[in-house]
């Protein structure tokens, strides 16, 4: 079963924003309940930013504004605790640009989220949450927020962590921990990704910027590093359970000396910027089984590629496979493993060049680490030059895939042109659209609306 839904609700059929960089949380206690985010602005430019919510498993979505800081966000990701229904968000505040950690006991109510942390000079918070079922913290929400903390340069890769986040006043146990132990060129890369297992194993992956290259001011050599904690982030010391045999430092270097060209305000890949793609996930049935994906430029300074790599460890991150999957000219890897050990990889790939270039969003699943051909589903395919970019990121610096039991749930952003050929596995639009004339309409179903970037929801159940 594969369901794809354009998430813009019918009452907002007139929206034309660049609703990029989506994120998703699914309530593990009740997977019919979901919260999603994107660079979607409050339709009335009010003081709170919106989230998308669904209470029917993603079939329908509505928007309500509960995120403090202004009518939008400058980064946002979300996560549910595995019990209790609390939702956590990490944002860059639209007004102050500070990192805010937010919480609500009930995201389906209409009350604003509570600010638990407020700190400047931060980037790209990435939320993972779980509720402990063992150890000394039973029934407490553990929240791990990867973030790039410029208050602690040059070792900026960090985790904002609380092991009892569900109750209590701000900061509700949150404190930041640096996870970079090596020297850097001055900072780490923006993405710091977290993956937590119910047995207390927590992985954090990041991109260590090693040196600036002579080929250009935006050319960086990086290592892809993963650290681990075996006690819900409470190890002594925390996140130092993995030692790299090569240099004896905490954190296994999964890949070293990888070339990236970091483009903050230009879009060399189908109008999109490149330079910071990373994903990590852990098998819910086996915390030793961990997967990592990132992007770099194989061709180096003279190259034009942007290549996605996937690697795999079966021994808690100590040793790593070579690439088990590579995809040329792709970004936004999003990994997840379901309860049956099936690995999912969602990504966005640019096919072709010039006016013929297309962004193709795909979901692959494999039970044998790509030893045989994976199941591949094209979720969306659309001309890369339309709509024209109004800012960056164009599609987003990340998308998200996650699992609850056997089900895969994901979100991505892309052109909302209502063309059946763009959705070979079908799609449902909530907003007004005519697929025969490939036209969007306002709520009056008469006034035409130009094509823009919308968030799309994906639900895949890999059974009959």
């Amino acid at each position: 079963m594969l369901r794809i839904v354009n998430m813009i609700p019918r009452s907002l059929s007139g929206v034309t924003g660049q609703d990029a960089e989506p994120n998703l949380a699914v309530n593990p206690e009740n997977p019919l309940q979901m919260v999603a985010t994107a660079f979607t602005r409050d339709p009335m430019n009010g003081p709170l930013a919106p989230v998308f919510v669904s209470q029917d498993g993603g079939a329908t979505w509505s928007l309500r504004s509960i995120v403090p800081g202004g009518p939008g966000t400058a980064d946002i990701s979300v996560g549910f605790g595995s019990r209790g229904g609390a939702l956590y968000a990490g944002i860059l505040n639209f007004t102050t640009f500070n990192l805010n950690v937010l919480r609500t006991a009930n995201p389906f109510a209409l009350t604003p989220m509570t600010v638990l942390v407020d700190r400047p000079d931060e980037d790209q918070p990435w939320v993972t949450a779980l509720t402990a079922r063992s150890g000394g913290n039973v029934d407490r929400d553990h929240v791990y927020i990867g973030h790039n903390d410029f208050n602690v340069t040059p070792r900026t890769a960090s985790v904002e962590l609380s092991r009892d986040a569900r109750g209590g006043p701000a900061p509700s146990g949150f404190a930041t921990l640096g996870v970079e132990r090596r020297q850097t060129v001055g900072q780490d890369g923006p993405p710091v990704r977290t993956a937590a297992h119910s047995d207390g194993t927590v992985y954090v992956a990041f991109q260590r910027w090693v040196r600036q290259l002579p080929s250009g001011p935006n050319d960086i050599s990086m290592d892809v590093v993963i650290v681990r904690d075996d006690a819900f982030g409470g190890g002594t010391p925390p996140f130092r359970a993995l030692i790299d045999p090569g240099d004896g430092n905490p954190g296994a270097r999964v890949a070293t000396d990888r070339f990236i060209r970091f483009t903050a305000s230009t879009g060399p890949l189908g109008q999109e910027r490149i330079g910071a793609d990373l994903s990590v996930t852990v098998d819910p049935a086996d915390s030793a089984d961990v997967w990592l994906a990132w992007c770099d430029r194989i061709g180096g300074a003279q190259g034009t590629d942007w290549t996605l790599h996937v690697r795999h460890s079966t021994d808690r991150g100590r040793t790593w496979s070579p690439d088990v999957r590579t995809v040329t000219n792709a970004k936004n890897p999003a990994l997840a493993v379901n309860s049956q050990g099936l690995v999912g990889l969602m990504f966005q790939q640019l096919f072709g060049a010039g006016p013929a270039a297309r962004w193709v969003t795909q979901l692959e699943t494999t039970a044998d680490a790509w030893a045989t051909a994976p199941a591949n589903f094209v979720l969306h395919s659309a001309t890369a030059s339309s709509p024209p970019r109004v800012g960056l990121p164009y599609l987003g610096d990340y998308i998200r895939l996650l699992c609850v039991d056997a089900d895969f749930y994901g979100v991505f952003s892309g052109s909302n042109l209502p063309a059946l050929a763009n959705f070979p596995n079908g799609v449902t639009y909530l907003r007004n659209a005519d697929f025969n004339t490939q036209t969007l309409f306002k709520t009056d179903n008469a006034t035409r609306v130009p094509v823009s970037i919308d968030p799309f929801f994906v639900h895949h159940y890999p059974g009959p």
Partner: protein
């Protein structure tokens, strides 16, 4: 009701529409809890709405009536001032205020024998927009009339960052100074963020030859070494004629 009250209500509302109560104690949006102050209103006319939220005549909108106002029953008509609450298959709004349809229709009548140049609601909206510019100008450190004569990138010295402002400096040829200790004529360097990143894309980005009334802000932080003034907001460039308005406001 005096126009001042209409203006106050409009300043606090994203939506204004006339309508008739179609159902009481009911909702068209499943996420909205229903109580005795929840009504479904059939829209007569949308008088003010953001571009992306259209309310065609006949649309049914769920309205959570304000606690401070009398309840409404089936068939009651009003002009509703409201803000969006839930955007789903249908729209749910929270009422900010309410007037009778006649009160809005009666505002700002045209001159005898002539239709008003703009709708009464548009006149109030324009007044609010003007207020916003005046308020913004009051916060400016310098207000000058000038034209862009040069644009130059500031060479970045550090590492690339996702939310890098990508500073540029625009040179303004200033021929009039309304506020701020600047000389006229003079060449004034003005810093701006040229980045298209989500953090900076809304910031004003001067273009070659562009002219008008510039609302300049003192540059803060490390960037102050690059230029004394910067532009940061879409409102920081106004038509030159706005100078008269600002002077009328005592600036």
């Amino acid at each position: 009701m005096p126009d001042a009250t209409i203006k106050d209500l409009l300043a606090r509302s994203g939506l204004v529409f006339t309508g008739t109560v179609d159902e009481a104690g009911a909702s068209t949006v499943s996420d909205v809890p229903v109580d005795e102050r929840t009504v479904v209103v059939r829209v007569g006319e949308a008088l003010h709405a953001p571009g992306e939220v259209d309310l065609p005549p006949g649309a049914r909108v769920t309205v959570q009536l304000a606690d401070s106002l009398p309840p409404l029953g089936l068939g009651d008509e009003a002009t509703f001032f409201a803000n969006g609450v839930v955007y789903g298959e249908n729209l749910a709004v929270a009422e900010v205020g309410r007037v009778s349809p006649e009160e809005v229709a009666g505002m700002s009548p045209g001159h005898a024998g002539l239709a008003p140049a703009v709708s009464p609601m548009s006149a109030v909206i324009a007044e609010l927009a003007l207020d916003e510019v005046v308020e913004h100008a009051r916060g400016a450190d310098a207000v000058v009339r000038g034209q862009v004569t040069g644009l130059q990138v500031v060479k970045r010295t550090g590492l690339p960052q996702e939310h890098d402002p990508l500073w540029w400096v625009a040179t303004l040829h200033v021929d009039l100074v309304a506020r701020g200790g600047l000389a006229a004529p003079s060449e004034v360097p003005v810093l701006y963020a040229n980045s298209l990143d989500v953090r900076w894309r809304r910031h004003l980005k001067p273009k070659a030859g562009q002219g008008g009334l510039w609302l300049l802000h003192g540059t803060q932080g490390e960037a102050a070494v690059l230029a004394q003034f910067m532009v940061i907001h879409e409102l920081d460039l106004q038509d030159s004629i706005m100078l008269d308005v600002l002077r009328d406001q005592g600036m």
